[in-house]
């Protein structure tokens, strides 16, 4: 890529969500979300259960069950909502699933190489042969302390909860996205797994990339330090501040923190 282009993109927000409203089966979940994520930033979105955190992640990834009724999502200057889920991935958007899906019969390495090459093809880059890909994969595996036999097993099949979450971050490390959205990746992880996951995310941090961490708990943010923390309540971001907000939330709970917030 040419340097000039990179500089141009640097000036542009990676993600710009504006007035986003979305519903599922006629029930309105997101009621006007505004969020701007610039290159190099890590944003945390926190909120109580049912506040719309996972809906936001699903809409970003392009789940068809959710209908966007108004508002817009601009990703690197392009209309994200116009793109198919696979096109979004090709453009560099990655969602780490809250509940990674088991796919019996699809080999983990085969799947990942198919994804990697599909993204390269989308970007009109040359596809990568198996031996070269395997080298990349083994390198990233070490990073996440994953057992090599996971490579030959079916995608997520028979993985423990922690292995599934680490497999998501492993996929992220291999696919090397521009924008990573982590949907409650920390839930159900013990402290060691949490540290490994956080380390994987921190390695991704770079001046031209961004991460959005969606979480219910403050504890992940001890290891992934966010630049901004947003509180999502009832489908709206009710407060945004620096990383200290997470600690405040932990101490006082959502009710106190959101009191007096603009409705």
């Amino acid at each position: 890529m040419f340097n000039e282009e990179v500089r141009d993109k640097d000036k542009m927000a990676i993600l710009e969500i504006s007035g986003l409203c979305a519903e599922i089966e006629g029930k309105e979940i997101l009621k006007g979300v505004d969020l701007t994520v610039n290159p190099g930033e890590i944003h945390a979105i926190m909120g109580p259960n049912g506040s719309g955190k996972s809906t936001l992640a699903s809409v970003l990834a392009g789940r068809e069950e959710y209908e966007v009724t108004s508002g817009s999502i601009t990703y690197q200057g392009k209309d994200l909502l116009e793109m198919e889920p696979d096109e979004r991935a090709g453009e560099g958007v990655f969602l780490a699933f809250q509940y990674p899906v088991e796919i019996p019969g699809v080999n983990n390495t085969y799947f990942l190489r198919a994804a990697y090459n599909a993204q390269r093809k989308y970007r009109e880059e040359e596809e990568v042969e198996a031996p070269e890909f395997l080298k990349l994969v083994k390198e990233k595996m070490k990073l996440l302390d994953l057992r090599e036999d996971l490579l030959t097993r079916s995608v997520n099949e028979g993985f423990s909860g922690g292995e599934k979450k680490r497999n998501e971050i492993f996929q992220m490390a291999v696919l090397d996205p521009k924008l990573a959205v982590l949907d409650e990746t920390d839930s159900g992880l013990d402290i060691d797994a949490l540290k490994i996951v956080a380390e994987g995310v921190n390695k991704l941090k770079s001046p031209d990339k961004a991460v959005v961490v969606i979480t219910h708990y403050q504890r992940l943010l001890n290891y992934i330090v966010p630049d901004y923390v947003h509180v999502l309540v009832d489908g709206k971001i009710v407060r945004s501040a620096g990383k200290e907000l997470a600690l405040e939330l932990e101490e006082h709970g959502y009710d106190t923190v959101t009191e007096g917030a603009p409705a």
Binding site: A61, G62, R63, E64, E84, P85, D86, R88, A89, G90, F94, L95, F97, P100, V101, E102, I103, P104, G105, V106, F111, L112, A114, A115, Y116, A118, Q119, Y122, S154, V155, Q171, L175
Partner: protein, 448 residues
């Protein structure tokens, strides 16, 4: 089986009976009396029962009308059979160079196209036409036609009356062969073909056998009515793979019958990709303690194809195991039928029988009827069965797409994975790779 006689289709039987009588006259005096007697008995069963009608519970979803109205014509001698080239056979040949391969064109053995592979001296492979003329017929007389139940399967009786050729495989005591023995059938015209195979696996032997049914191009309708009988003696291990790759106009009816003796095992795999109308019956008798069988099948009808599998696992003695896995993938106007019977006889305690049958409908106009049927005559058994019918898992498809894989590719990966679960149960590497290639071709034909 009382309802077998109920409303059989008797119209259209005459040409079949005439053909059998003509064959008997032609070979009069040149074959042993026991064979003539067997042919007569088989024909009598068929003549009495006729083609099974819709009132027969086991034929409820598969109409025999097309079979009964088939214009009966036999390639009476090898010279009446069509010809094939190496190019016609290439897609069906096994890649294992050590394999023995017997090629039959329109039912007749072609020595010039066959190889005996790296022949293991402990295995005797003969083509049946040669076998019934040979003087040493002890194996044949004591085994051929002694097992397949022609009362239950009148079409097997018709096969006995009409078979002209096939294979006789005798795997000797303690003989272990790894390279497959391949029986490759190819049709070139509108013939009724009745191949017969007899396998006797002597004690502690082990052998993989593959039977392929194929067509030379499209545009003809062959009717294969095949019977394979396998006797698996003490401690022996028989692996049998059936591949139906016939063209989209042809018919196939076939029975695989296996007798399993003490501590022996049989694996029977059926891959049904071809044919306009296919009906496969499998009957497994677990005759003594410690026996085991695996039934593994994949049927993939599309384009108005009809594929019906009926299986019977008969647990007769204690401490036997059976495992059965069938997957169906049904595309555009494809029709599938599966009926899996498990009988656990009185006294067959500690039986462990598992059956799983799953179907994936990938087109809204495809249809499948599936039924597990368990008859258990004692308490001390472990039997599980499950049948599911569904579409492609959209949640899994979304997961793949979210990683950058385009929708059509994601769907293809999931379909293939579902098929692969069955292919992976074939443990001979070269055969499994061959099936993988055939699967790819079949899936590619669906994209056209």
């Amino acid at each position: 089986m009382a309802d077998l006689a109920e409303k059989p289709i008797t119209t259209g039987m005459e040409p079949f009976i005439t053909a059998a009588e003509a064959l008997e006259q032609a070979e009069a005096g040149s074959v042993m009396p026991w064979l003539t007697a067997q042919r007569n008995a088989g024909l009598a069963q068929f003549a009495e029962a006729g083609f099974p009608g819709p009132k027969n519970e086991d034929w409820k979803y598969t109409s025999t009308k097309r079979l009964a109205s088939f214009p009966v014509k036999l390639a009476g001698s090898p010279s009446e059979a069509g010809d094939v080239t190496e190019e016609d056979l290439a897609p069906y040949r096994l890649r294992d160079e050590a394999a023995a391969e017997l090629v039959f064109v329109d039912g007749h053995y072609r020595a010039d196209l066959s190889f005996r592979g790296k022949k293991a001296c402990c295995t005797k492979i003969t083509n049946l036409a040669e076998g019934i003329r040979a003087t040493n017929q002890i194996t044949l007389e004591s085994y051929l036609g002694r097992h397949a139940d022609e009362e239950i399967y009148p079409l097997a009786g018709l096969n006995t009356a009409l078979f002209q050729d096939g294979a006789v495989i005798n795997v000797g005591r303690s003989c272990v062969i790894h390279a497959p023995i391949h029986i490759l059938h190819i049709s070139t015209g509108d013939f009724l073909i009745s191949p017969r195979v007899l396998v006797v696996a002597e004690p502690h032997s082990s052998a993989p056998i593959v039977e392929t049914f194929a067509s030379k191009g499209d545009g003809h309708c062959a009717f294969y009515n095949s019977v394979t009988e396998a006797v698996v003696q003490e401690g022996a291990n028989l692996k049998h793979v059936h591949l139906n790759l016939q063209n989209q106009q042809s018919y196939h009816v076939g029975l695989f019958h296996s007798e399993i003796e003490r501590d022996a095992r049989t694996a029977h795999h059926s891959f049904a990709f071809g044919g306009a109308l296919t009906r496969r019956d499998t009957w497994i008798n677990l005759n003594e303690e410690g026996t085991e069988c695996l039934l593994n099948g994949l049927y993939m009808p599309g384009h108005k194809q009809h594929i019906d599998h009926q299986t019977v696992v008969n647990h007769r003695k204690p401490h036997c195991e059976s495992h059965e896995f069938f997957h169906g993938i049904l595309n555009h106007k494809g029709r599938g039928v599966f009926n899996g019977k498990i009988f656990v006889q009185e006294g067959a305690i500690k039986t462990d029988a598992k059956q799983s049958n799953r179907a994936m409908l990938i087109s809204p106009d495809a249809k499948v009827d599936t039924k597990p049927q368990l008859e258990i005559w004692n308490d001390d058994v472990k039997c599980t069965h499950g049948a599911t019918i569904g579409a492609i898992d959209e949640v899994a498809a979304f997961y793949l797409r979210s990683r950058g894989i385009p929708e059509f590719k994601a769907r293809e990966m999931l379909v293939r994975a579902f098929a692969e679960e069955i292919v992976l149960n074939v443990n001979n590497d070269s055969v499994r790779e061959h099936i993988d290639d055939l699967l790819s071709k079949h899936l590619a034909s669906w994209e056209e």
